[in-house]
């Protein structure tokens, strides 16, 4: 045992500094190698492949193929709609679970995780069995002129189901920790439920909500398995961007496939940037509040 002496606050956190230099170099190098090989190289390769035929080829692949164009349009319609539905659902679920005591409350929280636990392919299959022509609800819906499977309502349904927990999962712990004191105070001051939501609850949870929406959106855009099953993969009709990537790849159209893939990757990177900026902003806000409290 070597004498440790009195450590200052700073050196207590720098325990790593005691490790030998070679070990540190090795560990850091290993970390960079893994991240580089598994993440950085593939991402860069997507863009390299996408631009293999230059700018004009890239634009041509993305825009001059009507089926690809339609898949972009479809993804940019279905994903935001699913996010919208899940935002409303997530708010309602979080409110119900954190503000009321009722039997089966814990069960509900557990059920919320079902979409995360079940494989997306199984989810797709479930919907086909339920809404397909041989399913329970399919024929009667068909009589009313509503087509779910192999049509956009099915895509929306599958995407919504798979991304269901994101917003609620983000909000439940947040609302639990905030407590209902402010809300009760607002009610006793005469606020209607609507005023309560817009003036008290929403301002308190807005950053958690935005965070949940960003995550939900990222997942909704990239959804493949469930959508693969319910869509029927009809080009120009039910192909979303991830499905289009796979189809073009199967057709040996590498530049086309990678062009769509690069667009998907770009969206993901933008989401990541948004998330990063939001996290920084919140950290700054919290630091500012802390300073104010301490002074």
């Amino acid at each position: 045992m070597h004498p440790s002496g009195v450590r200052t606050k700073k050196s207590a956190g720098g325990l790593v500094a005691d490790e030998p230099l070679w070990l540190r170099v090795l560990l850091i190098a290993a970390a960079y190698t893994v991240i580089g090989l598994l993440i950085l190289v593939p991402v860069v390769y997507v863009f390299v492949q996408a631009f293999a035929e230059g700018w004009q080829g890239y634009v041509k692949n993305l825009w001059h193929d009507p089926d690809t164009r339609h898949s972009i349009f479809l993804t940019l319609t279905v994903a935001p709609l699913a996010v919208l539905l899940n935002t409303v659902f997530g708010l309602a679920a979080a409110w119900t679970i954190t503000r009321f005591k009722f039997p089966g409350r814990t069960l509900l929280v557990t059920l919320l995780d079902v979409p995360f636990a079940i494989s997306p392919v199984v989810v797709g299959l479930m919907f086909v069995l339920l809404f397909g022509m041989q399913g329970y609800l399919g024929p009667s819906l068909r009589q009313m002129g509503i087509k779910v499977i192999f049509a956009w309502p099915g895509l929306l349904l599958a995407t919504t189901f798979v991304t269901l927990p994101f917003v609620a999962r983000e909000l439940i712990p947040l609302m639990e920790s905030l407590g209902s004191d402010e809300e009760i105070a607002a009610v006793s001051l005469g606020a209607s439920p609507w005023q309560l939501f817009w003036r008290i609850t929403l301002p308190n949870i807005k950053w958690g909500l935005v965070y949940g929406i960003i995550q939900c959106h990222a997942r909704a855009i990239g959804e493949f398995g469930a959508v693969y099953v319910v869509s029927g993969r009809i080009a120009g009709e039910t192909d979303t961007m991830p499905l289009r990537v796979e189809k073009l790849f199967q057709e040996y159209n590498n530049p086309g496939s990678f062009a769509v893939a690069s667009l998907l990757t770009l969206m993901a990177l933008l989401t990541l940037a948004g998330k990063y900026m939001l996290e920084r902003y919140i950290a700054q806000q919290m630091a500012a509040t802390r300073e104010n409290t301490e002074s």
């Binding site: 607002a186 006793s188 002074s295």
Partner: protein
């Protein structure tokens, strides 16, 4: 506005929070609900506010039944123990909230908030946020916010519980003064008997969902109705002895107890406040008990002496600085203690 609480009961699962409680609160009075935790005082306050529903019984405000009204319809100002200020709003907007949700005209809001900021002595702090205020300031904002909508009743839940001793003292005095200016019927919950006696003009002592005693502070302190009230309102010495013909016999001594004149002797428990015991260097006939001093705490306005009798029972005595100066008590000394006043609680069937 007067409040009339009639036969209110409330259960949470197997726990009885309130057991058929009835209480009248006079218009313009300042009433303290006093009791240990779990006595039901906060539940009663929340039921008056409409934040909790009574299982049975009704609440009347100025002769109209408000039991079925929701919290937002009852027009009560409620102040929470932990303030519950709106963190994302300035002090000004916090106070204005009740008027904003009622769509009060802008100029009126402006003047009313400024008036309240003056009342709670927070002029110039309207643009601050709750996180930039001290605990005492936050509680005053919470009070101003509750008063902004001109409530019929003001209800405060342990209003000073989370503050340090000095600020708490200031706010008590201030609340008392504020009440004298506004005269809105006020009920506050506390577990601090000193606070209840200092601020309130009516004190209600609660225990296990029941009202033990209600009355003026002096009434409750001088004539506690039950051993619980006696014990809860301050330190107390407990003696077991026999009661007969106007005298209480405790160990070897006798103390006058004129309330009981029956000749037949019976077991009884006597309660003596520490400041109602005198200490002497020489025996005082058959009224004094030999004790040995074990501890003296001379800090503060009251000198607390702890002594043991020959039989081994503990006795607490409070001395004034004057008495202490005369007697110069030291630990280890043998002295004679004379209870000047005892209280005996007899079961109802023996009462005269």
């Amino acid at each position: 506005m007067s409040i009339s609480i009639r036969n209110v009961s409330k259960r949470f699962g197997a726990f009885t929070a309130l057991n058929n409680v009835s209480l009248e609160v006079g218009s313009g009075s300042l009433l303290a609900l006093l009791g240990p935790s779990g006595s039901g005082k906060t539940t009663l306050l929340r039921i008056i506010a409409g934040l909790e529903q009574a299982d049975t019984g009704t609440i009347h405000v100025q002769d109209s039944d408000v039991s079925q009204l929701s919290a937002r319809e009852r027009e009560v100002g409620f102040v929470f123990q932990h303030y519950a200020l709106f963190k994302h709003m300035s002090v000004f907007e916090n106070i204005a909230f009740g008027m904003r949700v009622r769509h009060t005209p802008h100029e009126e809001v402006q003047s009313r908030v400024n008036e309240l900021l003056h009342l709670v002595r927070l002029e110039g702090l309207g643009s601050r946020y709750p996180s930039e205020l001290s605990g005492g300031q936050r509680q005053r904002v919470a009070l101003a916010r509750a008063l902004a909508v001109k409530p019929r009743l003001l209800l405060l839940d342990e209003p000073f519980g989370a503050l340090d001793a000095k600020v708490r003292q200031e706010l008590r005095t201030w609340l008392r003064r504020l009440h004298e200016e506004m005269h809105v019927t006020t009920v506050f919950v506390t577990h601090d008997q000193e606070e209840a006696f200092e601020v309130a003009d009516q004190v209600v002592v609660m225990r296990q969902g029941n009202i033990e005693q209600a009355g003026s502070p002096q009434d409750v302190f001088d004539h506690p109705a039950t051993p619980f009230v006696m014990d809860f309102l301050g330190h107390v010495n407990v003696f077991h002895g026999r009661l007969e013909a106007g005298q209480m016999h405790l160990g070897g001594i006798a103390v006058e107890y004129p309330e009981y004149q029956q000749p037949e002797s019976r077991d009884a428990t006597a309660y003596v406040r520490p400041h109602e015991v005198e200490l002497h260097r020489v025996p005082q006939g058959d009224t004094s008990l030999a004790v040995r001093v074990v501890h003296v705490n001379p800090a503060g306005p009251v000198i607390r002496v702890r002594a043991l009798s020959a039989a081994g029972s503990a006795l607490n005595v409070d001395l004034s600085p004057g008495q202490y100066g005369e007697l110069k008590v030291r630990p280890g000394e043998d002295l004679y203690a004379t209870p000047k006043r005892v209280r005996v609680f007899l079961p109802d069937d023996y009462s005269i």
